[in-house]
Symmetry: C2
């Protein structure tokens, strides 16, 4: 009997808390313990374990690989937070705020070492292939972060480049987690590739949903201030779509709001005005269409995995659950 997502999350959480780090140097290892203790959905390690269960592996067999992916993910968050000058992570001070940027750089580096050590320690089939997927994914995540930084200062960003950026920055690690779990469980190369594509397409769809929810979420249910992306002029799928389709009055109105200096306008007014422009331009519908296309591709990828349909059900349910956030 396979374990449910909730059970797997719990197992990951408990294994994470048992991860041992040396006591000293305190300022190297304490930030790592802090970062890993901030919680989160642990979705990536759960995907490693779910792919494993699909091919008959017990979660405990693949736990070191699952932790490798989670430690790696947290390393990227730690370094991203420095670059984004983010003050908070899951409601707590970021490592660079609580300690310093130097400490955050170095403890991030040490987390990356630890993640490779964990993957090395995982017994499983086709170990070298799993490591290859892991490292290629790691490099692509760096590429995605670089494109994200590049886009902040670039005048024009095409929608295709934006989609490629979010694929690299966030989606490949979801696909990679599934591919690593399946590879270590002896799945065929073909099955691994389909699972990888499923994860990547689902990941991009999920990010588009994030873009949409940031503007259109029911605030009471979503628990976040609506319009954060609009206020930050963030080049999301919505803004890029609006910029590419607006003409005449709408184009000049949009550019007006984008060029206003922070503090010179009422934030509620800007969110309302830009949302209104999005509505007029049908931007939400275009984003939903793209998202649904990707989700449907993801489901086709999952269908293509050559294994009994029953074994694919948990991943199918997880995908449905992820895409059913309140909007």
């Amino acid at each position: 009997m396979n374990q449910s997502v909730a059970e797997l999350q719990q197992e990951v959480e408990s294994a994470l808390s048992e991860l041992e780090f040396p006591q000293s140097p305190v300022r190297l290892y304490e930030p790592i313990r802090y970062m890993l203790g901030l919680g989160g959905k642990r979705m990536r390690p759960v995907l490693v374990l779910m792919a494993g269960q699909m091919f008959g592996r017990k979660p405990s067999d693949l736990m070191p690989a699952a932790l490798a992916v989670e430690v790696f993910h947290n390393f990227t968050l730690l370094h991203d937070d420095i670059m984004d000058k983010a003050p908070l992570r899951r409601g707590n001070p970021t490592v660079h705020e609580r300690w310093s940027s130097d400490i955050a750089i170095l403890s991030g580096d040490a987390m990356f070492v630890k993640s490779v050590q964990l993957l090395m320690a995982c017994k499983g089939e086709n170990h070298a292939v799993a490591m290859e997927v892991f490292l290629q994914t790691a490099l692509e995540v760096c590429e995605g972060q670089q494109y994200d930084m590049d886009f902040q200062t670039e005048e024009e960003v095409s929608i295709d480049r934006y989609l490629d950026m979010i694929r690299l920055k966030t989606a490949v690690l979801l696909g990679g987690s599934l591919a690593i779990g399946a590879t270590l469980s002896g799945a065929s190369k073909e099955a691994v590739n389909h699972l990888y594509d499923f994860g990547v397409n689902l990941g991009v769809a999920f990010q588009l949903q994030d873009d949409i929810l940031d503007v259109y979420a029911d605030q009471a249910k979503f628990g976040k201030q609506a319009g954060g992306d609009i206020l930050a002029n963030k080049k999301t799928f919505l803004l890029l779509t609006a910029l590419s389709s607006a003409t005449g009055h709408e184009a000049s109105s949009l550019n007006h709001w984008l060029s206003q200096e922070e503090g010179s306008y009422d934030t509620g007014e800007k969110v309302q005005a830009v949302t209104q422009l999005y509505n007029t331009l049908g931007v939400r519908e275009q984003a939903l269409t793209k998202m649904e296309q990707l989700y449907s591709k993801a489901l086709q990828d999952l269908n293509a995995v050559d294994i009994q349909a029953e074994k694919k059900l948990p991943l199918r349910e997880l995908a449905d659950f992820l895409m059913a956030r309140e909007n």
Copy 2:
């Protein structure tokens, strides 16, 4: 016929220049090419190859592992330069100066991924053990850098802790390079351990020599301004030894110079006064004694490697060469 150090350096340089990185994102990969193109003695990859030759391996067989170590080393330099706010590296602007800290963080991360990829790509015996040595060494280098940062603000640093810091920060990678080369060449665990110890002891001795040369080098021959460490109040073996043995007038004079604010004194005067104190306290002799002890230990470690003496000659000659810098 084994290749000489100079020949190996050349082979490493040429293999490094042939390393391929994607064209895009430019701001991720261009800093990596820049950093790897700044030159250097390439001592660590040469040690990988020399250990290989000792056990009958052609340099070309171990080149990916040699490059892994060099790329890793340059990644640590790149991140260290951010933390040290260093403007120059080998006479050229550092990556964080030429681009930005964010770019330096991220391209360093990508270099680290690349280094693990290179080691994974190296065919050789006992591959998993070599990877273990590499990762353990990587973690220790992070620890050494953290201790180095800690020491800058700590009031009292014991000489033993200083020696441990330089062991971690610089020496373990020399030992690790030899151990990786020997492991991949099928050397016995015992031989690998002796070679590792040889490299570590040599590395600490070399760092002590650096501390001594910074004060006592013949400037014309050494090509560096003497006394840089003194002006920076850097906690070197010399300063820590002086602090631990000075009493009365000498102690107060030393503390006087340490507490002066930058700009409030003549730099030549400070260097001369502190050097004079070192001379009076016999600090140079103590450092030389420690250095020679470590060097002699290193040679014993090399002797203990169970292989014909002739095969150990190149490493012996390299060690003599390294320790014979002009002072």
